[in-house]
């Protein structure tokens, strides 16, 4: 496939040029990952995958400015071949062309999640949702169920 190689190289160079034009020449994304009580990450990275409420999306430097809510899911930080995974409960992500600010209400490394506790929680919340007397209780229990199911997904889907 030698005739494809020059083409793909040009294509990639063009994409790099375009992205560095919008990002002001920066090659790496400034990641600011905050919670109300800690700062899990504040450094330059290659890419971060954000669990947006409307769907997960990846952020590279030069990304269109975006504001998104977070759903319970995994923030994946790609930095020079290493991948860090943090589970977040909810929050907001503010993306600009040079930086991504992730403000999560709660964040924990996926390796810290305990699958036994999560499975117990899932069965408890499933029961509570079924037994709920009013909309408010049902919605509250449903949130608990969703978060725990997302945590289980994060553990079982983790690399």
């Amino acid at each position: 496939m030698s005739f494809l190689r020059p083409f793909s190289r040009t294509f990639l160079r063009a994409a790099e040029e375009a992205s560095s034009a919008t990002s002001g020449g920066k090659k790496r994304l400034s990641l600011n990952f905050y919670t109300p009580n800690s700062t899990p990450a504040q450094k330059e990275v290659d890419m971060v995958i954000v669990p947006g409420a409307a769907g997960s999306f990846g952020v590279l430097v030069g990304h269109v400015p975006v504001v998104s809510q977070l759903k319970p899911g995994v923030v994946e930080i790609h930095d020079g071949g290493k991948v860090e995974q943090f589970f977040v409960s909810s929050g907001f992500a503010f993306v600009s062309t040079t930086a991504a600010d992730i403000c999560a209400v709660e964040a924990a490394p996926v390796s810290d999640l305990d699958s036994d506790t999560i499975k117990e929680n899932i069965s408890t919340f499933t029961k509570t949702v079924a037994d709920a007397q009013n909309d408010m209780d049902k919605a509250t229990a449903q949130v608990g169920l969703d978060v725990n199911q997302a945590m289980l997904q994060a553990i079982t889907g983790a690399k």
Binding site: N32, Y34, T35, P36, N37, S38, T39, Q42, G52, A53, A54, G55, F57, V64, P65, V66, V67, S68, Q69, G91, F92, F94, D101, C103, V105
Partner: protein
């Protein structure tokens, strides 16, 4: 328990009879000596209690400062986003009759110096200013001390109180609950008043004004100029408004918490010093009086002996 023991000690020191003037020939009787002894013991117990409260406040101060500092990056990030998006937006002037929510943050426990007095004073000034602009004012106090103050002075304005957060340090979950509770009362403007921590010996009163939660939703087009929304704009802005309110309230609660510990530290330090110096004065008085009594008795005995010669 510490506070009630402290009150008993102070009461004992006060109830003792005043010091009788000891001039030559007039001596304090054994009864008043006993009372002086009681006063000295009371001073010692007050000293122990205030010293204990001082070390507790000292131990709690550094973690409180750490929590406050750790919370600042996220608050700054949220505020920076809002400032960037709304940089050209002017918050509209309030018309007369707008409903203003005033939220003073106070402590639950006392013996913390001038902390609560200062913030409640600032609250009264804020309310006065708002009254002059003919606003409708409602007050939601955070903390028992603010609640007691408003109940006795201005019960009609007091709508709700959030207090007794428990023995654990306040966390974002609790702050969110308070924010949710507060925002059930609709408002055109909210003012959070709290003591901002400066350093171990000083703090200052701050007032943060927050526009109505609907303000964000009304700025959809402004936000849309600079940012794209992943998802429904109205929903995101509505949630963002509530989120930033909780974040601001959390920041204010942590600052006030750190200020409370530093204020209590200084107040209890002063109280211990005063108790110690009072105990010293009374002990010296007691000893002087005891020595004068002995001298008087010796004079009596030697005079009697002279007479019988």
């Amino acid at each position: 328990m510490l506070v009630s023991a402290l009150k008993t000690g102070v009461q004992a020191a006060k109830n003792a009879a005043p010091v009788a003037a000891s001039s030559v020939g007039q001596v304090r009787g054994k009864a008043t000596q006993r009372e002086t002894k009681t006063r000295i013991e009371a001073c010692h117990s007050v000293y122990k209690i205030t010293k204990a409260m001082q070390s507790i406040a000292n131990a709690k101060l550094n973690p409180a400062i750490a929590r406050m500092q750790e919370s600042r990056p996220m608050a700054a990030s949220v505020r920076a986003f809002i400032d960037t998006a709304c940089s050209e937006v002017q918050v509209p002037e309030l018309e007369a009759g707008a409903s203003c929510l005033v939220i003073p943050i106070t402590s639950d426990k006392g013996l913390c110096g001038a902390l609560n007095t200062k913030i409640l004073f600032k609250t009264m000034n804020t309310i006065q200013d708002l009254k002059e602009k003919k606003m409708k004012i409602k007050v939601i106090t955070v903390g028992e001390k603010g609640h007691k103050n408003f109940q006795s002075m201005n019960p009609k304005m007091l709508v709700h109180t959030a207090s007794h957060f428990g023995k654990t340090d306040i966390n974002f979950l609790q702050a969110s609950r308070v924010a949710e509770f507060v925002t059930q009362t609709p408002f055109d403007q909210a003012t959070i008043l709290y003591n901002k921590y400066i350093n171990r010996v000083s703090f200052t009163q701050m007032a943060h004004t927050i526009p109505a939660l609907t303000f964000f939703s009304e700025q959809v087009s402004k936000f849309g100029e600079k940012f794209e929304f992943e998802g429904d704009e109205e929903q995101i802005l509505k949630d963002l408004a509530e989120f930033q309110f909780a974040v601001q309230l959390y920041g204010a609660l942590l600052e006030n918490g750190a200020s409370e510990q530093s204020s209590r530290l200084a107040a209890m330090d002063n109280a211990s010093k005063n108790a110690a110096s009072m105990a010293l004065e009374l002990t010296q008085l007691f000893n002087r009086t005891r020595q004068m009594q002995i001298t008087a008795e010796m004079i009596e005995i030697s005079t009697g002996a002279e007479c019988c010669k």
